[in-house]
């Protein structure tokens, strides 16, 4: 249902964008005459109104035909898979780092309210306020241009070690995503640590580590799981800004180029996939919440 609405709205928006594929074809080939254009328009169905074209497309997708990419002149799915691989590596590692490090720091801050909490709090505000693209540029200036330790962007050529190329983009993306985990883990833990069952656990003589991780953390983890689910959509929709700055191929850049180049089939396929994964992840988050929190199950 949601998928249908998303795809219809995207189709409408793309139809409202300047130019259509044939305008671009005319620019590319001056020999094309007005008669040719009309013939091609009819051939590709571009003379039909928007909603008719949308229905035709949706019917084809339901039959498993995703059409051809206009920009790359191959089936849309064939362009998608390599980009998806690049994005999974980049966004996947960044999200794991952001989630684990952010949650750990947040828990640590809640456990040490005097000394560490204010620092972590300030860090979270700063990270939340830093524009991703600017952070990426600053990291390039510092580590690639000034110090020369790491490549400024791009991907490894055959035979090169791919890891150095990943460091800066992953760091940028992880920093951008970490603030949410930090803030929620910290707030959740601060709320839990003041409760009676924590005092009971401490009174039993449990080591502080067990009190924090076995008792308090599972109760504070629910918002963290929810954010992780919302972020998971980015595994497919990509990280447009980071990919642009570091010149890495990926879904974000692919969808952006497809939108800009009037490549309906490719853009819609990418967006649909992203929306689908986000919804599945949200569903998974609901299920995980039920597993870790019996209170949710009871309701």
């Amino acid at each position: 249902m949601t998928l249908a609405i998303v795809s219809a709205l995207t189709w409408l928006a793309m139809g409202l964008m300047p130019g259509d594929p044939l305008d671009l074809a005319m620019l590319a080939d001056p020999a094309l005459t007005a008669a040719d254009v009309e013939r091609l328009r009819a051939l590709h169905g571009l003379d039909r109104p928007l909603h008719r074209r949308y229905l035709a497309w949706a019917g084809a997708v339901l039959r498993g035909e995703f059409g051809f990419s206009r920009l790359y002149a191959v089936p849309a799915a064939a362009v998608l898979w390599p980009a998806l691989g690049g994005t999974l590596v980049l966004v996947g590692s960044a999200l794991v780092i952001a989630g684990v490090l952010g949650t750990a720091l947040g828990v640590l801050a809640a456990a040490r309210p005097r000394r560490i909490a204010p620092l972590v709090d300030a860090l979270a505000v700063l990270m939340q306020s830093t524009p991703t693209f600017w952070l990426g540029i600053m990291l390039i200036i510092i580590f690639a241009v000034t110090l020369g330790w790491l490549p400024a962007g791009g991907t490894a050529e055959r035979g090169q070690n791919p890891l150095p190329f990943l460091v800066l983009p992953v760091a940028t993306l992880a920093a951008a995503n970490m603030a949410a985990y930090l803030r929620h883990a910290m707030a959740g833990m601060q709320g839990e640590l003041g409760r009676d069952y924590i005092r009971t656990a401490r009174m039993k003589g449990l080591p502080e580590r067990a009190v924090i991780w076995r008792h308090a953390f599972p109760n504070a983890a629910i918002p963290v799981v929810t954010i992780a689910a919302l972020d998971a959509g980015a595994l497919v929709s990509g990280a447009l800004v980071t990919e642009t700055i570091f010149a890495r191929p990926g879904m974000g850049k692919l969808i952006y180029d497809a939108v800009m180049g009037n490549d309906y089939n490719l853009a819609l396929l990418g967006l649909l996939l992203a929306a689908l994964v986000t919804m599945l992840a949200t569903l998974a988050a609901d299920i995980i919440q039920r597993l870790i929190d019996p209170r949710v199950r009871a309701v």
Partner: protein, 274 residues
């Protein structure tokens, strides 16, 4: 403490934005006219922060950019607050079917991949609706409208939660018994009591809008040059990184300060309430 610090930061930036014409008269440059003989000039008395890739004064562009970026931020927050509060109140008051539909829409918006959709929306050719494109004012209006579409959700959820709590209070029942119309109950009795959570959401909306505007402008879909915005001042950063790294620093610092200011104000308001 936080509230004060945040307000001071925002005040500083707003003051800079207002003072842009004064500084311009004092320095005597035109921030919109390229001067190719002084590209990437280092900071000097004539150009306190140096010049950009087209030889335009950076400080002046930064201050004029503040006008654009802060205007978009405030306009979006205003629109999102009005729309969000209205929808939140309506959902809480009607309950049932209307509530379910409105909140499912809100959930749906939250679970969508925001940036790709923003890109699609920002690329829509407003010329087809007879609106001019490419002028600074119409760009601001276009970006504001797009960001309001995504910005109302946060406000609406908070407003609904707060309104639901207030609607069960005795004073609401008392007002109804006294013969107040439903409109009067909502606007005169419930609304004043949910203002404080809404202001928190508004402050966060300003922060989000400034970030989103700068990102879209950075990608070339927001405010179009020659009008400066903090985002589009960085749009050819790739090239600046090697030739003039300092040029790339300032717009980001401005965004950072503005968003930090809003976040601090939101946190401060929340703490004061708690």
């Amino acid at each position: 403490m936080r509230l004060g610090l945040g307000l001071a930061l925002l005040g500083l930036l707003a003051g800079g934005a207002l003072a842009a014409p004064l500084v311009q008269a004092w320095l005597g440059h035109d921030p919109f006219a390229p001067d190719l003989f002084s590209r990437y000039a280092p900071p000097s008395a004539a150009h306190p922060l140096g010049t950009d890739d087209l030889g335009r004064d950076l400080l002046l562009r930064l201050l004029h950019g503040a006008r654009v970026s802060l205007a978009v931020g405030l306009a979006v927050a205003l629109g999102a607050t009005l729309l969000g509060t209205g929808i939140g109140l309506l959902a809480a008051w009607r309950g049932g079917w209307a509530d379910a539909v409105l909140m499912r829409i809100a959930d749906g918006m939250l679970s969508l991949p925001a940036l790709p959709l923003l890109v699609v929306l920002a690329a829509v050719d407003t010329g087809r609706f007879g609106l001019p494109r490419g002028e600074a004012l119409s760009d601001i209006a276009r970006i504001t409208a797009i960001l309001v579409i995504f910005g109302w959700v946060g406000v609406a959820r908070l407003a609904r939660a707060a309104a639901l709590r207030e609607l069960t209070q005795d004073y609401v029942a008392a007002a109804r018994v006294a013969g107040a119309t439903e409109t009067r109950v909502l606007l005169r009795h419930v609304l004043p009591n949910i203002v404080s959570p809404i202001t928190v959401a508004t402050a966060l909306a300003v922060a989000g809008a400034i970030l989103a505007e700068s990102t879209l402008s950075f990608l070339g879909l927001g405010i179009q040059p020659p009008a400066p915005s903090w985002g589009n001042m960085l749009s050819n950063a790739q090239e600046m990184v090697f030739s003039a790294p300092l040029v790339a620093v300032w717009p980001g610092v401005a965004i950072l300060l503005a968003v930090t200011g809003c976040t601090l104000v939101a946190d401060g308001l929340r703490q004061r309430r708690a």
